[in-house]
């Protein structure tokens, strides 16, 4: 188990290095740069020398290789540098946004798991009954409905229902407060986007739970468990669910990593200042350092999530643990 863990940790390094290479060179293949955009973005005439000076100040006139080494070594010691667009430290720009996105991702995952595993299990056990059809309809809807649309509906629903009941429309707060400072207003703000994204997320996981469990329920060892005269509850929980969780955990892991950088539109709808919005802005601004930092951040979250998923695998399946 220890060797397995070490091996998995070491495997993260080449993955992150690959991501770093890709983002670094791809960004520089896009025509234009931050200086041209800032000075000549409006289409007016700008002195060549001014752009050169700007590029020199930002270190963009150095050879690509030197810039790359600079970026990699910086990342290795967690020094992300300054944003090329705002000039502020990237860690400062990221701070609250990362915290917010991470919190939504975690909350959406919790929402998804709490909905998906019981629903998927019920759906599989009661296959082809009205209960199963209801769950499947619910989850198909979750996949079909875009999160941002559901978000708009949630906000509208909140406004209309509070208006109708209390005579005063109410909306979740817009200002983000850390859960450590004021957990209640933090929750009141973030539960809605978490539900909006968690619903779609849960739909994917519900379907995965259902199909994985149905497959496991046909296995010989489940028949053995029945032949032993075990309680149905034990057969499902001990013999079937543990085996069917592997694909479900994979899906949960992938979705979680996606939520970290992929919530651009949902963030807009709820007016949240998260990583997704920052991502789009930094690409539009040709903000190399910021985009690189964000890609590496998301890649790191992805790699760590995968690592956690692998640990879950090993915990669930002794064949992985002992090989």
């Amino acid at each position: 188990m220890f060797k397995y863990t070490i091996k998995r940790v070491l495997l993260m390094v080449p993955t992150l290095f690959g991501a770093a290479c890709l983002v670094f060179f791809l960004l520089r293949m896009i025509p234009g740069d931050v200086c041209e955009l800032r000075m000549a973005g409006e289409g007016g005439y700008v002195d060549e020398d001014a752009i050169k000076t700007c590029q020199h100040d930002l270190g963009m006139d150095r050879p690509k290789f030197v810039q790359f080494v600079d970026f990699i070594t910086g990342f290795a010691v967690f020094d992300l540098g300054e944003s090329m667009w705002t000039g502020k430290a990237i860690t400062h720009e990221l701070g609250l946004r990362f915290q917010l996105s991470l919190q939504i991702a975690i909350m959406a995952t919790l929402v998804a798991v709490i909905i998906a595993i019981p629903l998927g299990t019920i759906s599989a056990i009661r296959q082809d009954t009205w209960l199963d059809y209801a769950v499947r309809t619910f989850s198909i809807a979750g996949i079909a409905i875009p999160s941002f649309w559901l978000g708009i509906m949630i906000i509208l629903g909140l406004l209309i229902s509070t208006q109708a009941w209390f005579g005063e429309p109410w909306m979740p707060p817009i200002e983000y407060v850390s859960p450590l400072e004021d957990p209640i207003s933090n929750m009141v703000q973030l539960i809605w986007p978490a539900v909006a994204t968690g619903y779609r997320y849960s739909a994917v996981a519900t379907r995965m739970t259902r199909s994985a469990l149905l497959e496991v329920l046909r296995e010989d060892y489940v028949r053995t468990a029945r032949a032993k005269g075990l309680l149905e509850r034990i057969i499902i929980n001990r013999h079937a669910l543990k085996n069917s969780m592997l694909p479900v955990i994979t899906v949960i892991g992938i979705e979680f990593a996606f939520l970290m950088g992929g919530l651009v539109v949902t963030e807009q709808v709820f007016n949240l200042n998260g990583v997704g919005k920052l991502f789009v802005e930094s690409v539009q601004n040709h903000d190399y350092t910021m985009t690189q930092a964000l890609v590496m951040l998301v890649a790191t979250v992805f790699v760590i999530t995968n690592f956690v998923v692998d640990l879950f695998y090993a915990w669930l399946d002794p064949r992985i643990r002992y090989s």
């Binding site: 032949a227 032993k228 005269g229 309680l231 001990r238 013999h239 543990k242």
Partner: protein
């Protein structure tokens, strides 16, 4: 000896898009206490479905027992509630399956899989269940039992896994063990060991056993009584002696001649059973073995031959049972 299990006119059917499959079609046999009864037949003749019907583990709603009685110690298992039946499974009637590689749960330890049955039915505490598990592993001839309990199925070979399955089956001291092709998936040398083990344990512990097999060689050495099944029906039954030396059904005879034997002269040709088993969804009124039978006449197509007594407990369902050659004469 007293009667333990009595199956009367059991019919189990599967409702598929291709029609109703009569997997078990009026099977009647009984098992006395401590006795070993074999059910022999080709793949797909309904022998495993008979076993699953006794355990009430036929996959519903696709399959269902539609008729018959299964009396276990006088109670009809088919009339019990699901909860009452659950208390019998693994406790009074245990089962050993064909495929040891997939019949144990890969993610649970051997110890857990052994102790859970005891804890479920006998309500003993963890320590007592573990002690029982160690004892059981010793009983089925596994060394180093303490260590085995913390291992997982993938640590064990096929033969070892089947020993664990047997230990699980024995754990609550059942009255009856149903072994569904327990050795088919194993190496020949291991097969003999496992069969010997099962025979000795059931004899020593006084457990009755239904052994389901397609291998007549198994039957000869281990069964007190033999039922030969074909297309969902028992077409001949009797003692192992009857079946071996005096078969009274062309199918039994054909099966015997298709198996190589040491007591035959060298160079004697094997005589396979020609053709395929019939489609169980398309059976007609007549004898289902008719298309493959060299004795078949028009009478065989008109109706299914009745099961008639030959002598003792030897029964056969064939119109031509008296015209059959002896297997020995035929072979030489």
């Amino acid at each position: 000896m007293t009667e333990l299990l009595k199956i009367q006119g059991l019919k189990t059917q599967f409702f598929t898009s291709a029609g109703t499959v009569k997997a078990v079609d009026g099977v009647t046999y009984d098992v006395e206490e401590g006795e070993t009864v074999a059910v022999v037949g080709e793949s797909g003749c309904g022998k495993s479905v008979t076993a699953l019907s006794i355990m009430r583990l036929v996959a519903e709603p696709a399959g269902r027992v539609v008729d018959g009685n299964i009396l276990f110690q006088g109670n009809d298992l088919l009339q019990l509630s699901e909860e009452e039946m659950r208390k019998i499974r693994g406790n009074n009637i245990a089962m050993v399956f064909q495929e040891p590689m997939t019949s144990l749960n890969p993610v649970l330890s051997i110890g857990l899989q052994l102790t859970e049955t005891v804890q479920m039915h006998l309500g003993v505490d963890d320590a007592a269940a573990r002690a029982r598990a160690v004892e059981l592993l010793g009983l089925v001839g596994m060394s180093d039992a303490e260590r085995r309990l913390d291992q997982y199925p993938h640590h064990l070979s096929g033969g070892m896994r089947q020993r664990v399955m047997i230990a699980i089956a024995l754990s609550c001291e059942p009255k009856l063990i149903i072994a569904d092709e327990p050795t088919t998936a194993l190496d020949v040398t291991i097969q003999a060991q496992i069969l010997e083990l099962m025979k000795n344990l059931t004899r020593d512990l006084g457990v009755a056993m239904i052994i389901i097999t397609h291998n007549l060689g198994v039957v000869a050495r281990y069964a007190d009584r033999v039922n030969v099944m074909y297309a969902g029906k028992i077409i001949e039954s009797g003692t192992a002696e009857d079946i071996y030396h005096n078969p009274k059904h062309p199918y039994t005879l054909a099966l015997l001649k298709s198996v190589p034997r040491l007591d035959q002269p060298r160079g004697a040709k094997l005589d396979p059973v020609e053709g395929q088993p019939p489609d169980l969804a398309r059976l007609d009124e007549g004898c289902s073995f008719r298309p493959r039978c060299r004795y078949a006449t028009d009478a065989c197509a008109a109706s299914f031959p009745p099961t008639e007594l030959i002598d003792g407990i030897h029964y056969s369902a064939c119109f031509h049972k008296d015209k059959l050659d002896s297997p020995m004469k035929e072979a030489s």
